[in-house]
């Protein structure tokens, strides 16, 4: 008598399975409940056991085949294993009688979520128990993905950092007299989140210098009419600052770089964000490949971007992918400020108000149009020396604009 072994019911919405490994081959003796073959489905791996003892007389499907629920996998003949002839004899003898079907009992092996389950060292068991940490959420850094004490402690620290943040959305405070509650605009929320993210990520600090604007103002006065006539755009200071920054960025590449994990990405393109104040807040459209553009082209583009910003026509692409930012607080009268980085960039230049001030020059006190400039930078990848050199180079280029022409 032979018994057919069929694909068992595999659970909800699973109609087919792939044949994994066969544990037995034709002619092998099998005992009841001994696993015969592995079935793999999307959800679980199942071992199909032998429904009764006997000899595996026939295998109908091979490893890799796809089978449907109810399909016949193999047959078991009664009797003992031996040489081929005996099995065949047994088969012949049992050709006639009706086949009985036995529904095999299932042994379900749950697929682990990710990789094999690793033993947990005692220190990790303690930390998990004392702090109610779910270890399944920790990626182990130890041998073969084991969780080390360091991993568990890092998870604990990470949770401590997250915990206060989770507390903040407490019940809204009732609005008192002479107060007004206004919902933050999406732009304001984004600005808030991005500024805070920059502060939380970068090791940010600011270095200052001052620029004697005499030369720039003189040049501008001399050529502004000609320039406007030829290019159809006003000669402003911003274009010259962009050019001065590019000269300095080429010299100090780390200011034009960003940190990505444990790597630094240096960018050999110069896409300069120019902060524009609008009634809703601050936006930073980007002048792409500013190093390849003429002063007039840059001025035109800044003008156009500013116009679009004010009319609310900026596209998302206009705001993305800058490598360095210039912010001008001077238009509002600021004398000095410490701009916050536009993450993930590692430098931002702050321009300020030009103010006539007495300065000492070659032993005499003279009055000059002066501007304080600030560079906030990510000290994780920009060294103090580089930041200061950058700012000095910007200053030199502006105090003697011909330097930019001569590339020195």
């Amino acid at each position: 008598m032979t018994t057919d072994i069929r694909v068992p019911t595999l659970g909800e919405s699973v109609t087919e399975a792939t044949i994994g490994q066969w544990f037995k081959k034709v002619g092998d003796a099998v005992s009841a409940d001994e696993p015969l073959v592995e079935l793999e489905t999307d959800k679980v791996t199942i071992e199909v056991p032998a429904p009764s003892s006997g000899v595996l007389s026939e295998i109908r499907v091979q490893t890799g085949d796809t089978v449907e629920v109810g399909a016949i996998l193999a047959s078991i003949a009664e009797g003992k294993a031996g040489n081929g002839t005996k099995v065949k004899a047994a088969l012949k003898a049992e050709a006639k009688p009706a086949k009985t079907e036995v529904k095999p009992a299932l042994k379900v092996v749950e697929k682990p979520a990710s990789g094999a389950v690793q033993p947990v060292p005692p220190s990790v068991r303690r930390i998990a128990a004392e702090n109610a940490i779910d270890l399944s959420g920790i990626a182990g850094t130890g041998k073969e993905g084991r969780i080390t004490k360091g991993d568990a402690m890092a998870a604990l620290t990470a949770r401590a950092v997250q915990a206060p943040a989770a507390k903040t959305p407490a019940a809204p405070r009732p609005v008192a007299e002479r107060e007004e509650r206004v919902r933050m605009s999406r732009l304001r929320q984004t600005i808030a989140a991005r500024l805070k993210e920059a502060q939380a990520t970068a090791a940010m600090l600011t270095t200052f210098n001052e620029v004697d604007m005499t030369e720039v103002i003189g040049t501008r006065a001399k050529y502004k009419d000609l320039f406007e006539k030829k290019h159809g755009v006003k000669l402003g200071f911003m274009g010259l600052f962009v050019k001065a920054c590019i000269a300095a960025l080429k010299e100090i590449p780390s200011v034009n770089a960003e940190i990505d994990g444990t790597d630094i990405i240096y960018k050999n393109h110069y896409d300069i964000g120019v902060a524009v104040g609008i009634d809703k807040g601050l936006v930073v459209p980007v002048v792409r490949d500013a190093d390849l553009k003429s002063l007039a082209e840059i001025e035109k583009e800044i003008g156009a971007l500013g116009q679009r910003a004010r009319s609310g026509d900026l596209k998302i692409e206009d705001l993305q992918g800058g490598t360095f930012t210039i912010s001008n607080g001077g238009v509002y009268g600021s004398l000095m400020s410490t701009p916050i980085l536009n993450a993930p960039q590692s430098g931002i230049l702050g321009m300020h108000k030009i103010q006539e001030r007495p300065i000492a020059l070659k032993g005499a006190v003279v009055v000059r149009p002066m501007m304080y400039v600030a560079l906030s930078y990510d000290h994780r990848l920009v060294d103090g020396k580089e930041a200061v050199t950058f700012l000095v180079r910007v200053k030199e280029c502006l105090e003697a604009p011909e330097r930019m022409l001569l590339d020195i």
Binding site: P121, P122, S123, R126, G142, K143, K149, G150, A154
Partner: protein, 468 residues
Amino acid sequence: MAKTYDLIVIGGGPGGYNCAIRAAQLGLRVACVEKRGALGGTCLNVGCIPSKALLHSSELYEEARNGIAKMGIIVESVKLDLKAMMAHKEESVDALTKGIRFLFKKHKIDEIIGAAAFTAKNKLTVKLNAGGAEEFEAKSFVIATGSEPVGVPGVPIDEKLVVSSTGALALAKVPEHLLVVGAGYIGLEMGSVWRRLGSKVTVVEFLDRITPGLDGEVAKTFERVLKKQGLQFKLGMKVTGVKKNGKGAEVTIEPAKGGAAETIACDVVLMSIGRRAFTDGLGLDKAGVKLDNRGRVVTDEHYATNIAGIYAIGDVREGPMLAHKAEDEAVACAENIAGRAGHVNYGVIPAVVYTYPEVATVGATEEELKAAGTAYKVGKFPFTANARAKVNATTDGFVKILADAATDRVLGVHMIGPDAGNMIGEAAIAMEFGASSEDIARTCHAHPTLTEAIRQAAMAVDGWTMQA
């Protein structure tokens, strides 16, 4: 026509024979060339194994003479039969080298007895010990020719009056005064053997400390214990000359920093100042294999030399000259050649000095952590407070565990004490699996054993040592 193989390993030491076996296990047709006539290399023939035989025998001898009376065992008229002691050593070595020959047969590895020399990138000629020469070709070669002792310039090693470790393992009689040059592990082990057997032993060391590279605190304790046993140290001194006289040698030493010279009369001088990679007569120039400025074969992290198909492992390349380092590289190299991913974790290679007490170490020393600017915590436990050490009357030494201050991961374990060499295995396993000191502290250790000292030291890292 030349005989061909998948792999020919040159050298039958711990690196070479293990590489041959692993490669054969992975299905390669392998031959191993060894000129000594016995397998096992320096380690088995004139290094680790015979020295351990003498260390153990001499320790028993000393115990019988001095140690066990206080435990109520009186042994009268203890006598030394040096010949028998040496015979036992040789028997053990002989049995073990034959064991490797058996392993070669089992894995169908051809042993070629002779000296190999490359004639081209893929060809060897072997000058057979039995006479004549034979040509061989292979897809891959592993150079595992090991190292040899170096001497002091102008002081040739004759293995009689001025001996290397090889000669020091086979002295015909116990020297009255043995002068050891170099306070590394070989000098201190051989110095200990002959001191136990009755020699006066003076150790001259160029540096102002013994066992350079060992954790400083351990080295200091080690020096104190060895002095207490009767070893004499001349630290910060260099040997400038050895003069033969009628019955021994006059050794001139002077302070390394300059100063007045002094002479020491002795019967035998042991040169143990270091070893150098051995590639003489190998024809590496014919194959085009590059050496570094210290004569070591240059390899990448997969043990491949600059010539495709030629690899090098063990003492002949960079890294600590340790048998077990060579064995690990042997396995990794064979696996790489067979297309697998062999790897050696150089951060977790233990090292042991087999004196009494033993010194064992794995991972970073306190000095290394300081130099690297790593924040660490220290846990220590003395064997005087360990019950098993107390009843065995072997209480010299301590266990020291260094762990990362932030993650508690064990960064180094250093011990001086009884059976430290066997106990360091526990530390190596812990470190290989990235264990924290707390993991060791919370692992059950059998009582009463010496290993409890490791657990207590691990507890000490977090300040909860319970038994001291």
